[in-house]
């Protein structure tokens, strides 16, 4: 594969030659442009209870979804309570190489079995009348069992959700008849492990959970396309004279979709980018680190040099301090990031060294409130013990993302996205038009997502829950 050639070049030449090496194979892999055309989506799905209730039945009970990290539950008996809408699951390590998930509900009168994450559990005992199951899900103690004649067979095992792992992530699917996680993900693992980015070796250094006053789909759609960057993040200017610098390629891999920068080798020609071009190279550096005009920028672009080269070098040298010279195995294109992936229905692991990972969940049964997880998946040297993953830093309603400074400049960028999301929610509810319009190219991934949504919800022949006038 191309990375091997990169390594050879890195040994014989310095960074300049690396640009001549082939692009990583997974990035060269193209799919035809997504189904053309604009799409109109009724607004009803973003705030009506009926959609939330149907999503629970047709999405959250039927789909593979990222529940936790394997290293959150390193020891037998360690468990995480994974909650999605008002469903709750216990995800527990039952053996060194086995993880199970149970519906978090007592088979007697339904009390939630576990209220918090826990360590080294020996049993799951209900705090109402004391029934208990072993961590392998078998019945351990049916208190006053004599009083429940003929029911023991019904409560002998906790109902399970299916589990699977990829890249150190634990996925669950509550549907016992679902396809395997491997089939669901398709060629996705090859795009990460095959490109030298194995999430199983990464460290979840930062984990912030924001509680946002909008539907989970509204929050997610703010991160499904990059077009909004030009207006919502107006400080993000690109290389002077290069308006094509954020040209997008969207590749459709079924249950997931990927955005990469356009490559010179592309067979399918996409429209040029839309970015604001900077007036000077220094402006490109300034915006990346948030440097402002009342300070002397700590990083300056030397006369005659390009900001993008300066930035790539900073990123490469930072990674050298963590990974050593192994960083020279990686193509420049892995440095800047910008490789965006969304996996149906709600997981966004970025590619390269971007280290961004998002997840979007409805908040309990409220269609007007959602939780957004933001995780920074840091590289970590393989020969050192990896620190435990950061526990979720949950921001309360009313706190701003500025209360999570561990996100660095990302906190300030999210503050801009957050300045839209609750107002999208309000605007959708008062929409006289009754539908939103998604574009052909720049919003192709949002269309892709709604195509999958319509399929999962049974809306292939139209959104039958929407107001007649909104369809």
């Amino acid at each position: 594969m191309s990375m091997v050639e990169d390594k050879k070049d890195a040994k014989t030449a310095k960074a300049g030659a690396r640009r001549e090496t082939p692009y990583p194979e997974h990035l060269v892999r193209e799919t035809p442009p997504y189904r053309p055309g604009v799409m109109r989506v009724p607004v009803d799905r973003f705030f009506k209870q009926a959609y939330h209730d149907l999503e629970v039945e047709r999405i959250w009970k039927k789909t593979w979804q990222w529940a936790c990290r394997e290293d959150e539950i390193p020891n037998v008996g360690d468990y995480v309570v994974y909650e999605i809408a008002e469903l709750s699951f216990i995800v527990v390590r039952t053996a060194a190489d086995e993880i199970k998930a149970y519906w978090n509900s007592c088979l007697h009168r339904g009390r939630r079995l576990c209220d918090f994450n826990g360590k080294r559990a020996e049993e799951f005992r209900c705090m109402f009348h004391g029934w208990a199951w072993n961590i392998d899900g078998t019945m351990k103690d049916m208190t006053c069992g004599w009083d429940f004649a003929g029911t023991r067979d019904e409560v002998t095992r906790l109902p399970e959700a299916r589990t699977g792992t990829w890249g150190g992530f634990v996925f669950i699917n509550p549907d016992p008849d679902c396809e395997s996680l491997e089939d669901f993900l398709g060629e996705l693992p090859d795009h990460y492990e095959g490109a030298g980015h194995d999430f199983a070796k990464r460290w979840a250094q930062v984990h912030v959970v924001a509680d946002i006053a909008c539907n989970w789909k509204v929050a997610q759609e703010a991160f499904l396309e990059a077009w909004h960057v030009n207006f919502t993040h107006p400080q993000m200017v690109r290389t002077p004279g290069d308006r094509a610098s954020t040209g997008m390629r969207w590749d459709d891999f079924g249950n997931w979709m990927r955005n990469t920068p356009q490559l010179p080798t592309d067979k399918y020609k996409n429209p040029p980018g839309y970015a604001t071009a900077a007036e000077t190279e220094q402006q490109v550096v300034d915006q990346r680190w948030g440097f402002h005009l009342n300070e002397d920028p700590p990083i300056k672009v030397p006369e005659g040099e390009k900001a993008n080269e300066v930035i790539k070098n900073v990123i490469r040298e930072y990674h050298r301090s963590v990974l050593g010279d192994a960083i020279d195995d990686y193509h420049d294109v892995h440095m800047g990031g910008g490789e965006m992936v969304h996996i149906w229905p709600n997981m966004h692991p970025w590619g390269g060294f971007s280290r961004l990972l998002y997840r979007f969940r409805p908040y309990k049964s409220d269609p007007n409130r959602s939780l957004m997880d933001v995780v920074l998946m840091a590289p970590w040297p393989e020969d050192r013990p990896r620190p435990p993953p950061a526990p979720p830093h949950v921001l309360q309603p009313g706190q701003s993302i500025g209360d999570a400074p561990e996100l660095g400049q990302l906190a300030r960028i999210f503050q801009q996205d957050l300045a839209n999301m609750p107002f999208v929610q309000i605007g959708l509810k008062t929409s006289r038009q009754g539908y939103v319009i998604l574009s052909d190219h720049n919003e192709a991934p949002v269309r892709h997502w709604h195509d999958l949504y319509n399929k999962a919800m049974g809306f292939e022949n139209g959104d039958y829950l929407a107001e007649e006038s909104n369809k």
Binding site: W203, Q205, V206, N230, F231, T232, H233, P234, Q235, V237, T276, A277, A278, E279, Q283, R288, W289, G290, H292, L293, N294, E295, V314, I315, Y318, S321, V322, G337, F353, S354, R355, L356, L376, A378, W380, P381, R384, P385, R386, P387, P388, P389, A390, P391, H393, S400, I401, G402, D403, P405, E406, L407, G408, Q409, L410, A411, R412, Q415, Q416, A419
Partner: protein, 104 residues
């Protein structure tokens, strides 16, 4: 208006509209248009005073929104790491990201 102390007030140039955005107090931003008109706004977009009555919300957020403490002004791709520490963070950060502390 509360005075901002101990850090430089932020000032940014909005390339697309050729406007200057200057933080003049906590959460308050003055905008200067290329034609010389100026306006003062809250960081959430609300107009306060001046003959320039409209501005870009997101430039106001960028300029006057919650500031980052100095130590956290890094780009997230370069979040500080110390591979020799159990926490993974360089020592000075351990007291700041102490919500993680039980984990170390």
């Amino acid at each position: 208006m509360t005075e901002v102390k101990k850090r430089a007030l932020r000032k940014y140039y909005y390339v697309a509209f050729k406007q200057m955005y200057e933080e003049i107090a906590e959460g308050i931003v003055k905008v200067t248009n290329p034609d010389g008109r100026t306006g003062v706004f809250q960081w959430n977009g609300k107009y306060l005073e001046g003959d320039l009555t409209q501005a870009n919300l997101h430039m106001l957020v960028w300029t006057g929104g919650p500031p980052l403490p100095e130590a956290f002004s890094y780009h997230w791709i370069e979040t500080p790491i110390d591979v020799n520490r159990k926490s993974g963070w360089p020592a000075p950060y351990e007291t700041i990201v102490d919500y993680q502390i039980g984990q170390w």
